[in-house]
Symmetry: C2
């Protein structure tokens, strides 16, 4: 700042012309404009925007009465129930930080997270009370425990908390006064990465990033107040890819879903005229491979945000044949979920379906709110040539990149080395600047000095009509160092395949050095977000 030119004289910030960017503003606005519009659907329950907002205020008030305030962590273990949505607003209204915990973790991992995040409050859905109880026993942290007793859950589970969520917010003030954060850089959410090895890392989001990605989603998904968003993406995954906050930008409707199954999804799409939803390739697989009796024709176009793991072209094509419009996005927990999108070109509509799906399987370009996306040689920090061949590391720069890892300066510094966020994902850049992932750094297979993209081999396997799911990892090989080992799940009722069939099929469709030499027929181990746990497969591959 030179301070000498005319624009630097007496044109300072004040409350009239500068306010912190925060997604909380969106809910306040929408509740004021559309108080009677349906905000939340869950089973038989319907809540309007004014009711939703009022419950968030009561929650904030109740937490405030328990001395929760700026910089305090409020943890939650729950599926996609309405209370989760309320926590996304009521907690940050106090300057506190919401920490949604993956419901599929074990007690030890949850205990680690409660301790590391220094949780002051833990909200627990009754289905997970036993798990939470064990975690709290293991943890040093001593959070206030509040039960979420969802009427839609009719399974077993004891209440373990001081009281139930409804009782907790009952006396909260529906006119509770809250304010935007003093600084938009203040933390809003804490999300632990699944961490296939070692302890999970706590990714910190700020209000500014959540605000911007919330808008970026709306522009990318072309949502408006008539949009109905079905909650198939877990809200504990990057705050539901930020759609927890996005819907408030336009006043769309949240359609909660406790259990993500194909019959549930098809029925809910029809009942509530769902327009948007999202999920990992696993969820795409549910929809494609559902029993014919469970499938229902779509009542309107349903836009499906595909992410969490690279969707194979064959899966994209099959889902579009079911009538869905796939919007392929890509990102990481560290980028607030989606920060890259396969921005569509109208002329691609003319391509034959398989080719069209191939083009859509590329991860794409930066989101409207991401400043820079690049594929970089991490040694030289120079971008790799845009030739569709040279592999580099995908790197990000922008306001939808995390603040860093909580209490982990070493990992933070490593992640931001050279002024870029290092994703750990390997990819290429095509000549049209669209990025395509080839592998996680640790998943690439190096055979005889050649790089083999496990994604490329999997993509080929997915095109085989008998294959339901495929994963390829490196197996140790005396001659070549590593060799591809394929793990396959076959479709129900598909003709039996032998190892030789699979290898012969691959040789017809891939360069020979890329073809698996080992083949295993099995169910694939997966994380809660539908990502295949390749570290488990690598262990298995050693013994094949």
């Amino acid at each position: 700042m030179d301070g000498t030119h005319i624009y630097e004289q007496g044109l300072d910030k004040n409350t009239a012309n500068h306010q912190a960017l925060s997604p909380l503003s969106f809910l306040k606005r929408t509740a004021s404009i559309y108080p009677n519009k349906c905000a939340v659907i869950h089973g038989d329950l319907r809540r309007s925007y004014s009711q939703f907002y009022e419950r968030c205020l009561k929650l904030a008030s109740a937490l405030n009465a328990r001395a929760i305030g700026k910089g305090d962590t409020v943890a939650v273990i729950a599926p996609n129930v309405p209370e989760m949505l309320e926590l996304h607003y009521g907690v940050p209204m106090l300057g506190a930080v919401i920490n949604t915990i993956n419901i599929r973790l074990d007690a030890a991992a949850i205990a680690f997270i409660l301790d590391h995040g220094e949780a002051k409050v833990l909200m627990v859905d009754r289905e997970f009370s036993q798990l939470a109880h064990e975690a709290v026993q293991l943890a040093k942290a001593n959070p206030i425990i509040i039960d979420i007793d969802d009427p839609e859950f009719d399974g077993p589970g004891e209440l373990i908390g001081e009281m139930d969520y409804e009782a907790f917010i009952k006396d909260g003030d529906p006119a509770f006064q809250w304010s935007l954060p003093a600084d938009e850089w203040d933390a809003i959410a804490l999300n632990y990465t699944s961490g296939t090895t070692g302890n999970p890392k706590g990714v910190v989001y700020h209000h500014r990033g959540a605000y911007l990605l919330a808008m970026g989603n709306i522009i990318t998904a072309q949502m408006d107040k008539s949009s109905n968003y079905l909650w198939t993406v877990p809200m504990f995954h990057c705050n539901g890819w930020i759609f927890t906050w996005s819907m408030s930008v336009v006043g769309g409707t949240h359609v909660c879903l406790r259990k993500v199954t194909a019959p549930n999804i098809y029925a809910t799409i029809n009942e509530h005229k769902v327009t948007h939803m999202g999920g990992a390739p696993t969820v795409m697989g549910f929809l494609i491979n559902a029993e014919p009796a469970d499938k229902k024709p779509l009542p309107n176009t349903v836009h499906f945000f595909a992410a969490a793991a690279p969707p194979p072209a064959a899966t994209i094509q099959a889902l579009e044949e079911e009538g869905f419009n796939v919007i392929h996005v890509y990102g990481l927990t560290e980028t607030y979920g989606p920060a890259v999108v396969n921005a569509w070109h109208d002329e691609w509509d003319e391509l034959p379906p398989a080719e069209r799906a191939q083009v859509k399987a590329r991860q794409g370009v930066s989101y409207p709110v991401l400043e820079e996306l690049s594929v970089i040689d991490p040694e030289t920090m120079e971008p790799v040539p845009q030739d569709g061949e040279t592999i580099g590391e995908v790197m990000f720069r922008g306001n939808v990149v995390m603040r860093g890892y909580l209490k982990n300066p070493t990992a933070t510094q490593e992640a931001f080395e050279g002024g870029w966020f290092h994703s750990g994902d390997l990819g290429v850049w095509h000549d049209d600047q669209y990025v395509q992932l080839k592998d996680r750094s640790k998943d690439i297979i190096i055979s005889g000095g050649e790089n083999i993209s496990s994604i490329e081999v999997e993509d080929t396997l997915y095109k085989h009509p008998a294959v339901l799911e495929a994963a390829v990892v490196a197996a140790p090989d005396e001659k070549w160092g590593e060799t591809p080992c394929a793990f396959l799940t076959l479709k129900k009722g598909a003709p039996a395949l032998t190892k030789e069939d699979v290898i012969a099929y691959c040789r017809e469709n891939l360069a020979h050095f890329k073809c698996p030499t080992k083949v295993v027929f099995t169910d694939l181990p997966k994380t809660s977000t539908g990502k295949v746990q390749k570290f488990k497969l690598r262990t298995m591959a050693k013994d094949v």
Copy 2:
């Protein structure tokens, strides 16, 4: 900042996770994703996004070679030609500030602006070269003058500059390296208010506000890459209500229009399948009252952003009967143009047309990117009751409020008194929180101690089938202090009306004390943005 909690430790800003918000990012992104998509149409000219971006880079490079840099003002006097769009990107790429000057000002006012803004460069469309020449003669500033010689202009006018725009950018570097501003608070544009009395004030915009309002427009107008925006709003008015930058968010097409006439508009809508446009009620009047031969059926829904002056309900209704969808927005130069929108409720579609238009004539609620809108008693600084009756001053708070008035600390301080931007517009708040303007503070008529909203009287007059345009101002009155004086333009071919007819009509439709006692049939004097110049009418009213 207490600095003590865990989220304040080692989670700092760096280039990977913090970048200045600037609308320049949008163009860079779109040129990279959709290089071949049509960005600009002007007469026979078509430019793709890569061509458009390249020309902006060459412009920035050429200006840089003339030592233009951070905090320097680049002024321009031109209608809606492609060069205007390029200046909106090329100038801020250098950290310089674009100052679009109203083409309908006189030489003395332009000289004042050139001096006050300390213009280093002046770009002039040939149509306005004589005017610019006179202004420069009067001014102390000695800007580099560059001619814009638009092939679509075939009227008279000498070239007065050092060289022509094309020659100026010819040797610019198409790969010119630019960077985002170091601080998103840096100035991007300087816009002088029309200032009905006294010298105009220079409103300063920053990159952050331009970025946010650009996104707010896209969400409000529901634009996407298939949108075609017709340039009927002058780009010199709030940078074309920020649509100069909005279109780059989604990659839509700018359709330039040198001359805003009804035949031109209808023809262009049809030729280029225009989806969005905007304008003052005057432009709405052009479209409604065009000769039948000049009207053409619309090829698709055309969304019309109505603003600049409160559109009478009758005008909204008539334009919607022509097939347009009116989106009523409101704002001031100080709020980057539109910052308030009549957010529509689906149930209002069921209202009878006249009532529907009445509801749409209310200014509405805050834009998605405006934090607070209120109607406040300026004495107490308390919000007025939401009763649709009590008049207060409309006030704003948020990131799309100007930095302040250039070199005018007194006016800046007054505008921001009490931590709100004081619009000077008087209005009421309805019980659904929608704001409705009643008057500019200085336009309100006080008769026998009662406030009369000139807008309300005008609204009634517009409903008379013979009235083309109406304006009501205060005339001095011995008995009442002030009395309403109506100025009317009648429609061509309409039956003659007498003063008595008008007064009788008003008495049927308004409280008696609100009815005009004086009526003048005449053409209305207007500003370049279509606002009626009431100060001129007030002078005329004294002599009626």
